[in-house]
Amino acid sequence: MALDRVHRRDTRLDDYVDRYAARTHKMTASAIRALFAVANRPEVVSLAGGMPNITDLPLDVVGSILNELVITSGRQAMQYSSGQGEPQMREAICEVMKLEGISAHPDDVTVTVGSQQGLDLVTRIFCDPGDVVLCEAPSYVGALGVFRGLQCEVVHVAMDDNGLRPDALTEALAGLRAAGKRVKFLYCIPNFHNPAGVSQTLERRTAIMEIAQRADLLVVEDNPYGLLGFEGDPTPAMRALDSDRVIYLGSFSKTFAPGFRVGWVLAPHAVREKLVLAQESATLCPPAFSQYAISAYLANHDWHGQIKIFREMYRDRRDAMLAGLADDMPGGTSWTVPGGGFFVWVTLPPGLDSHAMLPRAVTARVAYVPGTAFYADGFGSRHMRLSYCFPTPDRIREGTRRLGEVLQYEAGVLETFGETVEDARARLPYEAPGANQA
């Protein structure tokens, strides 16, 4: 069949391509990210996502609280609210923070749309393009996204099984000072680190804060998991050690439910004023209804008891994962032992590449997040983050069994071809936590 008339096209299939900001051109499709479309299918055991497990949340209680809220305070709760957040919410947040040794005034709290928005606002306030932000190695992928989006230069600082290493921090600061670079802040997750699973001891926190004081370094402490420890009382927050030098990020996403999108920033007064202005520019105000709902939940429900239920549920899943790893991982694999939170950080035998083998894992119906996602500089191919928060213990065991088979196969391929990853990025001079654990 002949074509009558051809309509000529010369196109990039994006009529806006010449209008984007320069930074937008770095937002590209990724084959690895696309694989997670498969990971979300029920056939796949996903040890990838860090989704809080709210199966044990008493929906009848939450439902009656929301019902009461709409009937009694609906007109206020569904209205615009203060850019800083509702007063009763900020007071309740101060009560929550007391559990980790933080003494704060509600005036110094700014409510945000999850702590993710808090980090975004803090970074906008402090960082110009090219400014240096120090991050643990590895660091939270969502934080790296914020820093990349705002064109910061991320410099990683090595960790060990007790979190950020003070000697590595000192060395990094000296190197940057010698290079004439200005460090805007240190971003760290001291409790049950995402992705590394480790926690800073109190001694370690004290040492880091001493270094920060000497170097006049601002610290951004991100603490979404601090109340989800499996043993003992919470370790005092870094903010509890220094109220002037630490900007603290908190969240209800893990201790209540992420769908309400309520987090907060606790900052020194001058910074708080900037935060409120930035918040008003970004959203006018954080969602009032969510704040009313969480305030009512905290006032009317045994939320301490609920967190205990969450902790026990996560501990069972952590135990299942550790048992599965011990049974299923090939020799030479090591991993961290989290005392709380959601994640285990796995170090693979030399030569294995978690990024390259993800397609095979997805074919085997198991998913994880390759370690490279947690570094801004391409490091991490020998690592992977496993989440135990969402699947049941049985599914976790099935997931580690499948993963073990994938690793065995990969080890066979590696044996055939030898170490093929001739990538200098895999050899950067920082060890990851858990690397020396048998």
Binding site: V6, R12, L13, V17, A29, A34, L358, V421
Partner: protein, 325 residues
């Protein structure tokens, strides 16, 4: 199956469990939207245990598989549709099995005296048995550099690498084997990358206007394929008439020798001498916002909705005229 009711119901299948699930979902959404605009009743479905009961509840419905990668393109699902006498758009299972596997398709196309790269297909195990270093050396000697390494059964350029130096080859092999047990290693053909769709709307096969592909990065990889703005498409391609004719003929011949039906897309390289060389063929080509086939359809002066609807009607007609066993 009973005869189709009016309006025709179409079950658009998208998703699946292949590595290209995300692409398939995007293609499926676009095809569904196009079919609805063509006046058909469309039901969208994933591939899961609910599929067969759903088909049983839709007598006379035509399946439009928009699945990329295994199961969707390797013929497995189409075998099931044939078994259940469910009419579907696209090639039959046996043709898909041949077309989807690059190593087999290239051999069939080469046997028809069409131009292909020099290619070998090797499972991982052969490297272990013969020794990787000796085999890698032999590949370098016989195929030469640069060469392309690809998974034998995969799409969207996943697991594909251009290898310019011997020391890059083992890493490329590992990357390809992550997507499947067999990799093809073929000579790299320098030239202009083009895609040619072949469509049969019930009035005979025709090659659509040729799409020339110019990725900004120089490599038409996954990022260049699915990031809007990252690739420049020219349709029709900037080729002289005789070369364009040869490209169209190659696509039509490939469609024919592989026994394909309804719709295919052949990817090829046009050498500096103007000779088109077959790279691969797709029995379920991408229909996303950044895919070349919808662009070619538009350049042909057709609408995607009308063309997809015609393919559905052709499939429905086949079912009505099929001999009763």
């Amino acid at each position: 199956m009973t005869a189709s009711s009016d309006p025709l119901t179409v079950l658009v299948l998208a998703g699946g469990l292949s590595h290209e699930r995300d692409v398939s979902l995007r293609s499926g959404r676009r095809v569904s939207q196009a079919l609805r605009s063509g006046g058909l009743e469309v039901i969208e479905s994933d591939v899961d245990s609910a599929l067969l009961p759903r088909l049983a509840d839709l007598p006379g419905a035509v399946v439009f598989p928009v699945l990329h990668g295994e199961a969707g393109e390797d013929g497995a699902l189409r075998e099931v549709f044939a078994l259940l006498e469910v009419p579907f758009v696209g090639s039959i299972a046996s043709a898909c099995r041949v077309a989807f596997d690059k190593s087999i398709a290239t051999t069939v196309v080469a046997d028809a005296e069409l131009s292909t790269p020099r290619q070998v297909a090797l499972p991982h195990e052969i490297f272990r048995e013969l020794g990787a270093s000796a085999l890698v050396r032999a590949l370098g000697d016989q195929i030469g550099f640069p060469m392309m390494v690809k998974p034998s059964r995969s799409g969207s350029a996943l697991g594909c690498s251009k290898v310019s130096l011997p020391e890059q080859l083992p890493s490329a092999m590992v990357g390809a084997y992550a997507y499947g047990p067999v990799a093809v290693i073929e000579s790299f053909i320098e030239g202009t990358e083009v895609a040619v769709a072949v469509v049969d709307r019930g009035t005979g096969q025709s090659a659509l206007p040729i799409v020339e592909i110019r990725p900004d990065s120089g490599v038409y990889d996954y990022t260049a394929r699915y990031t809007a703005g990252a690739t420049r498409f020219l349709c029709p391609a900037e080729l002289d008439e005789a070369t364009a004719q040869r490209c169209s003929e190659l696509a039509l011949r490939v469609h024919d020798v592989l026994g394909l039906r309804d719709l295919s897309r052949t990817d090829m390289i046009v050498t500096d001498e103007g000779d088109p060389v077959f790279l691969e063929v797709n029995v379920s080509p991408g229909m996303t916002e950044t895919s070349s086939v919808p662009l070619a359809i538009e350049a042909a002066g057709w609408s995607l909705g009308k063309m997809c609807a015609d393919l559905v009607r052709v499939a429905a007609g086949r079912a009505q005229t099929a001999p009763v066993p």
